[in-house]
Symmetry: C2
Subunit: 310 residues, 2 copies
């Protein structure tokens, strides 16, 4: 059996596993991402190396696939994750290539890896034109068209969170205004809900909001309706431009279920009226927490589709 | 020398020419599209055949490429152009294949052909990720990513005119609301300008409006500012999703020049702030009236990029 080492680098956790050709994970390990004022770039690197050594044991992987928070220089794999301040233009791919010589090492955006996983083995399997979305602290995604991952001019295709849904809407962290992410990201939505009567507390997250919406708490339901409407508008735009088969939505907020997907479907129906657009299917992501690792492995195991020669 | 027969079928005119491998047109002919209550599907077909016979003379083309108003069943080439009521599911590709046996016959959306032409030989040449737009009676387009024409699930990718720019905006002919086309299409913009003091008259078109805007007529300038703002928002959305290099804009309204492109650039700057998106170039289309024929020919002459195996 040959295995790919799959790695997921986020601001909250580091995770890794071995992945076989069927997309099955073994040896899964995770740890909280070391952070704080005394954690330097190399401290974080050493922690990651230890984690990877635990995962691989004596196995020599046939390749290393990595999903990492953006932005990054693609395909070089110099990463500057927004939520990992100690890594700025950190040469993650080069460091891993030194450590795993003679095998391919490929690094892509973490939301792109989730989208790839959903196309390869999840809710988008069998479809040629898929948008995968992660609605969580931010709103990210990846775009598969005609059965191939779209990278775009600089590896940044799939930034679905910055489709404009309200030109005069709230300011976005990107510097723009009215982006889908500005409206529908978990923390923004929590703040909006709290301003409209939802229970206060700094610890509240999008997952709590989703849970309350499922229980029918009115202010939470209204917040999810707002997010769903914005998602429906953005998906209509993406479908008109790219003629999609399936949109797969994951991330903490998607756990709300009907309170999110109902308003989403209504907004999409209102804006996507031409037959080709009306037939797009919006479905919950199927792979859950492990999706990022499965997609990172697919960068190696199905490179013909997911790693177009840059 | 071998030639492709290139054909452009629109509600206003039929045009055709022979195109060589360098994209040069010879034998160009055009005629007004026969229309009216007594023009049947076969009358229109016979008029087209006569035009094509004039163009080809004794030349036997190595293929036939056609741009036609949508919608259509792609790749079958059964066409139902909105502006040609006598053709509903007319088997244009099959009829042409009977008439030009043994050579490929390929039919695609006319705006897609313009986008293909701009990528192949025009303003997008040398770039791998290009959105071509036609801003005219409608707003159409075509999408080239990683150097290949994107067809999408049903051949309908590139419907940039239905990116949503104002979720609560004016109703659109597609049945939706607030689409780019609803705001920026020529006739809609003329009506808006006339409601805001521009010269009245039923004969006024987007081209007249563009000319007045260039002369500084205030109501025309305001109308073009409105269109430019909507275009900037739509292009920001498309760039975030697809990571574009270049957007090439043609069609009658684009002749306004600065009164359109200035407000467009301002809206784009306001909404596309991340470095990868801010670097997108928006340029006027380079090929003018013949673009549709050049792109139709490219469906044959550069089929590896522009006619992905369906």
């Amino acid at each position: 059996m040959s295995y790919v080492l799959a790695v997921d680098v986020g601001g909250t956790k580091l995770a890794a596993a071995l992945v076989d050709e069927a997309g099955r994970l073994t040896g899964y390990r995770r740890m909280a991402t070391p952070s704080g004022p005394y954690v330097g770039a190399d401290d974080l690197w050493r922690a990651l190396v230890e984690l990877l050594d635990e995962v691989t044991g004596r196995v020599v992987p046939v390749g290393v696939g990595v999903g990492c928070g953006g932005p990054m220089i693609w395909p070089d794999g110099d990463v500057s994750p927004l939520n990992i301040p100690s890594w700025r233009r950190f040469p993650l791919r080069a460091r891993l290539a030194d450590r795993y010589p003679g095998v391919p090492v490929r690094v892509h955006n973490d939301a792109v890896c989730v989208a790839v996983a959903e196309h390869w083995r999840g809710a988008g399997k069998g479809h040629r034109n898929v948008l995968g979305m992660v609605v969580s602290t931010g709103v990210g995604g990846g775009l598969i068209l005609d059965d191939r991952l779209i990278t775009g001019a600089s590896g940044n295709a799939g930034h679905v969170g910055h489709i404009v849904v309200e030109p005069e809407g709230p300011p976005c962290a990107c510097g723009g205004r009215g982006c889908l992410e500005a409206v529908a990201r978990g923390p923004g939505l929590v703040a909006w809900a709290q301003a409209h009567g939802w229970r206060t507390g700094e610890e509240m997250t999008g997952v709590d909001l989703a849970a309350d919406a499922r229980r029918g708490v009115p202010s939470a339901v209204r917040a999810l309706r707002r997010a769903g409407g914005a998602l429906g508008v953005a998906i209509a735009s993406a479908t008109h431009l790219c003629d999609l088969d399936v949109v797969a939505i994951g991330g903490g907020l998607s756990q709300a279920g009907a309170p999110l997907f109902g308003p989403l479907a209504a907004a999409l129906r209102a804006h996507a009226r031409m037959p080709f657009a009306a037939r797009v299917e919006v479905v919950p992501a199927a792979l859950g927490q492990g999706a990022g690792l499965v997609g990172a492995a697919a960068l190696i195991l199905a490179g013909d589709r997911y790693w177009p020669a840059p």
